[in-house]
Amino acid sequence: MSFLLGPPQTAPRPRALRRLGARALKVAEFLTTPLLPADYGSLIAPLHLSADLRGRLVERRRETADAATLLIRPGRGWRPHVPGQYIRIGVDVDGVRHWRAYSLTSRVGADDGLVAVTVKKIPDGVVSRHLVDEIEPGTLLMLDQAAGDFVLGPRAPRRALFLTAGSGITPVMGMLRNHPELTDVVVVHSAPTADDVVMGAELRALHDSGRIRLVERHTRVEGILDLRPDGASGDESDADAARTLDALVPDWRLRETWACGPTAMLDAAQERWDAAGLGVRLHTERFRPVVAATGDGGVVTFTRSGLDVDADGGAPILDSGEDAGVLMPSGCRMGICFGCVAPLREGSVRDLRTGEVTTASAGNGGGAVPIQTCVSAPAGACSIDL
């Protein structure tokens, strides 16, 4: 069945063999027209004979009451990731395909060949609820290669600070597990209670072994981490003073810092680091876009699909299109990867992060304007070439 494999993506084979394979593939393509050999192959051995990257869920392991780790066997064509990167997973919930990004937590090149992500359930979250509570081992998943630049970079820093909250620990755990050379590490992690700390046991073990210094903030009793400069909030009690960044990590200015968590925390950190002139030493990862501006919405016309969708001014065109059954290209779904770019032919859209309005008038001689559908909502009627 080697002819079903398609162009070799793995180890190089001898030339004669390759040529033979290419010829066999041509014949197979004739036989399977109008489909492709992979369309049949994917039904026989989905992990190995599909044209697209797939993975199979091997295990779903509960972490906390609302989080679980998924162990996935990636199929042919998987390329090793850089710790801190995320993958996109396409999963069918109630028969409908959804794509979401999840940070990899596994060791690169682990012996068992599995990769892992850890998912935290979000109230009303379509995918996270399914992944944490329902998905069965054996399920076939769509995968995308790892991406993202929330990584340590070419040289590991001598001193590192990880500032995380909730599921934001995941990319950091990916780095900790893969970079034993990081020895001077402080992890400041916030979660509602001790039991809610995702991968808490492992973090505490790392702390006990002296590998990291772990500072847990249990926000339900201790309140949220205060990232403002000392005294900024005026009349501070001792308790308040004790939960400032300066109190918890006095040498934070000396540390290369990676932060991942809710928007408010990241915004506060950015402000603090910028104020200290250390903005370049702070790396952040956001799990969702910051929605700053919404408007009235309008009818979005998907020209190629022949669909008109009356869309809300607060809903990304990506979501509206998907809901209507349009095949929308997508990626991170939060404005960083440009995987969702589509041409705006006519009309205006509003960038949900900034409120900025982009207008196109391809019909009047102007060109179509590429827009990111995941962070754009219609600002009046508009048409998209999809």
Partner: protein
Amino acid sequence: MTATITGVTDREDTEPETTEPETTDPADAQPARTTDAAPTTPTRETRAGKATRRPARASAATTERHWKPKRSGGADPAGHLTPAQIDALGRELDALRDEVMATRGAADAAYIRRLITVQRGLELGSRLVLLGSKNKAAWVAGTLGLTAAKILENMEIGHNVMHGQWDWMRDPKIHSSSWEWDHAATAAMWKHSHNEVHHTYTNVVGRDNDLGYGILRVDADQKWHPAFLAQPIYNIVNAITFQYSIALYDLELGRHLKYRKRLSDQQKTDFVAGVRAVAAKTARHVARDYVVHPALSGTSWRSTAAANFTANLVRNLWTNTVIVCGHFPDGVETFAKASIRDETRGEWYLRQMLGSANISGPPAMHLATGNLSHQIEHHMFPDLPSNRYAEVAVRVREIFDRYDLPYVTGPLHTQYLSVWRKVIRYSLPNGAWEDLREQPVPTLRRGLSWLGAQVRGSRRHRA
């Protein structure tokens, strides 16, 4: 052969409309998007709001019935309903549709995936078995399997996927925008002529190209022409070459030949591109069925080619049978062009309900017809997943009864015979069949002079 068939008549010739200016504008004669007033089509509920398949128009309430008699006369088949009742019918059917759409889920997705897996397995397995087709048993098994696979692929899978019935799954591999099928017509052109023209203008004389496919006269309101005398033969040839005939209708070859002098450069380019696409696709399919697969069969090459030919032929005959039984049997209504102007939602539903016919039978029959045995339900809800038509049919039937509308259905042989009766009857001018029955023609000479009179009569009528 098919070229002559398509060239025989043209819909614009067969249906001069008195209430509308005769369309001879080449813009109207080419397969571009139709822009004139189109009836409302069903909408999809989405989280973001309502999504509508175009062409669509806001549905106003029915204040008066827009139905207009055809030239041949006849009464409004829904004449017993008040405008308010027609609106209520529209609302009731919208609600039924929404209700079923809302319950689409994992079981439906599993159904179509399982079906695709079975179909591809069957096709691959049959082709493997046919490698040894010199053996009689292998030939029979392989040919049966391949025929079944091709029928499933065209009907329950291809037709329905290209209708967008499975777009809601957002699986790019099972999506109307990406699907390609084992058929001479390319997916793109078929989707235009089928989804946009046929489903929008269902059974509107002079508008719906599927009404006789431009080569058959199946309605009193299609104008007679002596060429129709031979239509029983066209009907057979059409069935045998069905996939190629469909490709030619989709290219609108007849219209292009007729208006070739008046086509714009763009229209010509599009047409040539369409012809090229069909030719390229056909070449690949022919190479698959008659070159590569036989070549791989070695000494069985001859019987493998014959098996492929048989499978293609049976698939053509079967799909043709199913499709003519969906719209041409007795009892199915056709409509005047003027009727669809300002047609409301309820009226649109009425036209779909009265312009289609079902085939009754066991579940295997429904599967083999791609659930087009539920043609009525399919026309009312074209993008409802096909596996749901059976359950919807029960509810639809009850609604037909309640509104006192005729639900045309019957077993395959009854419907098929009924189609043939029409093909024969309308091969003669209107009324001629009845004349003939009263006064059978005893001699050849009298027969010829009778025919001559008919032809002259039709010419006079035309002038």
